[in-house]
């Protein structure tokens, strides 16, 4: 299999797996399952993976981790928006 196709398929699977958590938090406006420290660790980690992808010029790495940055930044915003209610 072409390595870019493989990377994109892998990225679709790992990206897809993040959606339910995001939907659950937005729908229920409940962040008690979220850990602020872990969101920050994850944002740092996936941002470093984007950087790694840029240095190595690997589009599948860049795209899938940039998506993960977006999802986790949204979770971070939700954390502060919904924190008082939980």
């Amino acid at each position: 299999m072409d390595e870019n196709v493989l990377g994109i398929v892998a990225g679709v699977f790992t990206s897809f797996s993040m959606i339910p958590q995001l939907i659950k938090v937005i729908r229920e406006k409940n962040v008690e399952d979220l850990s602020l420290v872990m969101i920050l660790v994850l944002i740092t980690g996936v941002s470093l993976w984007v950087w790694y992808g840029i240095i190595r010029n690997e589009l599948p790495i860049i795209i899938s981790n940039a998506f993960a940055v977006l999802v986790n930044l949204t979770l971070l915003v939700c954390y502060f928006l919904f924190r008082k209610k939980s």
Copy 2:
């Protein structure tokens, strides 16, 4: 920064972020927060990333995703072990 060092640091961050969920499930023997479909999607995704890493001969990709396979296989085992109790 050397790209391998960058990849390893990125991998440590994203791997570290998976640990609390695993500890929580094992300690509480409660899998009601886990979705079987999502665990299977994630195992498929990270396994494909391992394959991608092998094809491209990138150790940081292989190691961090192999770790994610292990964590999610453990969650899968926990899911079936603790399912009846929840």
